[in-house]
């Protein structure tokens, strides 16, 4: 089983912020498109480590993770079976799960 570990602070930025590419250099859309989604396609398990950054605004997290369902056409079940989130702040893990559930609900409406 292939496993990929992504540390956002080391592999992307210590100051991730913004939703779309047009917002700024380290947006949620950029992280999803260039790092997260390719890793999910190429590997059976992807572990994302959120620690080491200054923090995450809701726009970044929603676009990076909720966008997997909305834009990349993945299902909630596929993501849950392939994605593990590690963070010393439970708030972020909770929010990401919520964004995934919300995006799935909207998609299935």
């Amino acid at each position: 089983m292939t496993t990929k570990l992504i540390s956002i602070s080391n592999n992307f930025s210590q100051t991730p912020a913004g939703r779309y590419y047009t917002d700024g250099p380290y947006s949620g859309e950029k992280f999803r498109t260039e790092i997260l989604y390719p890793a999910l396609i190429e590997n059976e398990l992807v572990k994302v480590d959120l620690d080491g950054t200054l923090g995450y605004g809701s726009s970044f997290l929603e676009e990076a993770f909720g966008g997997l369902i909305r834009e990349c056409k993945m299902t909630l079940e596929q993501i849950e079976s392939k994605l593990e989130i590690h963070s010393s702040r439970n708030l972020y893990t909770r929010r990401i799960k919520q964004y995934l559930v919300d995006a799935s609900k909207i998609k299935n409406k």
Binding site: P25, L54, Y56, R89
Partner: protein, 351 residues
């Protein structure tokens, strides 16, 4: 060759003298006209230089002493508006800061951003003088305002209340400028508070960028943001400002709110900007109509509410939304003079 008669010679001489006299007269007239024109221009310039006095207090902040602070806010906004109006009337403006003696982050940030826009448009029509108050001069020097206006820096930054000011600005959502600020206060605030504050600031900057003109598409409108942070006593104040369309206007443009806005129930309340800010804070959707967006303001409020620390202010248009962690309550207020855009302020108690 035919010899000219004396009579003819005399007539020629008279004619040439007359022509010379006419020429000299017209030259004198021309010179006099030129001189008068120069005098008129000098007088015109003198008469169109308007001297505008900056108010004593640069603040938007409202405390328990509400009425006084609201007056300060109105004076500051009228001062900015007077500068703009005079420039629109093609007058030259000289700003005197001799009365200014209090600079709060909210009012100062608003002034700096407005002043930057004005000086970019009318750079050769504005002059300023050195502030009379030593701390005010040090702060204007610290943030580069004096240098920008061609006044050499002449102070050593010694005031503690000036050295603790951090200033950043940007025109996209690149928050790497916040790194210094967070490393500076890493020992004074817990990791949770630090992350929560960054989340909120990053969201405020994202909002300022995405809602700058109410359009989703890329456009050329003003997408700048400005940030001030300062530590005073045991409190860290952080302010982020953008000159977009503001939260109330952004919501009023929201198509799905049209019905709600037209409904007679409490319709009068919907005219108030503070009501619209309240709706935006409580809402989970933004003016983009997309269900996955618009959670930022609510998260900012939750951060202060859950952390039980300090206060949270949103100034937008004529409205103010305020949450006090100490009193655990939300209040709102409307003012006479609106601001352009949105200014968000956090006050956090330091360890």
């Amino acid at each position: 060759m035919k010899k000219l008669s004396i009579k003819y010679k005399t007539s020629l001489l008279i004619k040439s003298k007359q022509s010379l006299r006419t020429h000299l007269k017209s030259k004198r007239l021309q010179n006099r006209r030129k001189l008068n024109e120069i005098k008129r221009k000098i007088n015109e310039q003198k008469s169109t230089i308007v001297k505008i006095f900056a108010p004593e207090h640069f603040t938007l902040h409202i405390s328990e002493k509400d009425s006084l602070r609201a007056e300060s806010r109105n004076k500051l906004l009228r001062f900015i508006s007077k500068i703009k109006q005079s420039l629109l009337e093609n007058k030259r403006v000289h700003i005197s800061f001799k009365n200014t003696n209090l600079l709060a982050p909210s009012g100062t940030l608003l002034f700096i951003s407005e002043f930057e826009k004005i000086t970019n448009e009318y750079s050769n029509k504005i002059t300023i003088d050195y502030p009379k108050d030593d701390v005010v001069e040090q702060l204007f020097q610290h943030i580069g305002l004096l240098e920008k206006m061609g006044l050499p820096n002449r102070k050593e930054i010694t005031a503690e209340q000036v050295r603790c000011w951090d200033f950043a600005k940007g025109n996209n959502v690149d928050t790497s400028e916040f790194k210094n600020l967070f490393s500076k206060y890493s020992n004074a605030i817990s990791e949770d508070v630090s992350s929560g504050l960054f989340d909120s600031m990053s969201e405020a900057v994202t909002n300022s960028f995405q809602h700058s003109c109410g359009h989703q598409a890329e456009c050329n409108c003003d997408k700048n943001w400005w940030m001030f942070a300062r530590q005073q006593n045991n409190t860290l104040e952080v302010v982020i400002y953008d000159r977009g369309i503001g939260i109330p206007e952004s919501l009023r443009r929201k198509p799905e709110l049209k019905e709600w806005l037209r409904a007679p129930y409490e319709r009068y309340k919907k005219k108030f900007d503070s009501t619209m800010i309240n709706v935006a804070v409580q809402s989970t959707r933004s003016s983009t109509k997309l269900a996955h967006r618009g959670k930022g303001l609510r998260d900012m409020l939750d951060f202060v509410r859950d952390g039980n620390i300090g206060g949270f202010f949103i100034f937008s248009g004529a409205g103010l939304f305020l949450y006090s962690a100490e009193r655990k309550n939300e209040t709102s207020q409307d003012f006479i003079v609106p601001i352009s855009g949105t200014l968000i302020q956090w006050q956090l108690s330091l360890n």
